[in-house]
Symmetry: C2
Subunit: 142 residues, 2 copies
């Protein structure tokens, strides 16, 4: 069966499949680690992107995260509801929004960082010396 052989090849080599699988495993892992602080791995990443000296608008954030704008809209909601971020109309361009962390958001971010540091060090240990290569490869894709 050539169809079956092709399937074997794809299961072994498809980078998209491998990436989704790794993304799921990593998200679960960091979700678990961050759960005591009430945020997910995705929310942690988003808080980091929003932690800037000056407020950002949504476009650049979505682009940095390689995420659809409407996905970002959705992802902001629980963070705003929980008081971790602020969403304000940009006075200079009333179509846009200015996103920033609240004091509470910075507090949560700071606390979550220590968890991240520990968990990520352990992850890099498991990956071995290839961690930099892996990052580089992922950056090429996204």
């Amino acid at each position: 069966m050539e169809l079956f052989e092709a399937t074997i090849h794809i299961r072994d080599r498809c980078i998209c499949l491998h990436a989704q699988r790794a993304a799921r495993a990593l998200a679960r892992r960091f979700d678990d680690a961050l759960r005591p602080h009430g945020i997910t791995s995705g929310q942690f990443s988003l808080l980091n992107v929003l932690n800037r000296p000056e407020p950002v608008s949504m476009g650049p954030v979505a682009k940095f995260l390689a995420m659809d704008r409407s996905t970002l809209t959705a992802n902001l909601k629980p963070l705003e509801r929980n008081g971790l971020i602020r969403i304000e109309v940009d006075p200079d361009d009333r179509r846009g929004r200015k996103l920033s962390l609240t004091a509470e958001g910075r507090k949560t971010l700071r606390a979550a960082m220590s968890i991240w540091k520990k968990e990520h060090a352990e992850l890099e240990r498991e990956i071995g010396i290839d961690a930099d290569l892996l990052r580089a490869g992922l950056r090429t894709i996204a």
Copy 2:
């Protein structure tokens, strides 16, 4: 601000963030490519996993995909509704299900494979010689 510096470090180095970003970009890319055949990149992967000489049960499939079992339950629904797969109670263990492709599923899979081949070759070209290293790194994680 040390908090800001820590954020920069995380944005640059967090493997979880890089993986999610790459996963989103790749999913969009293959979703686009496969759209003419009416399936997504995730459904394509799932069809490949289900394309075996003998039916499989859900547990091993979920494990192979590094996916929660309940996620798999959800993912099977549109495929079954569209007639691409069959879900049957395992007569030897009536808790379990036996999953298999229908003729229609095999037909769709075969057609989608040619798209995958083209798109994946282009992707590997873009990634360069690191494609094998990237795969290896992703496999270590998942």
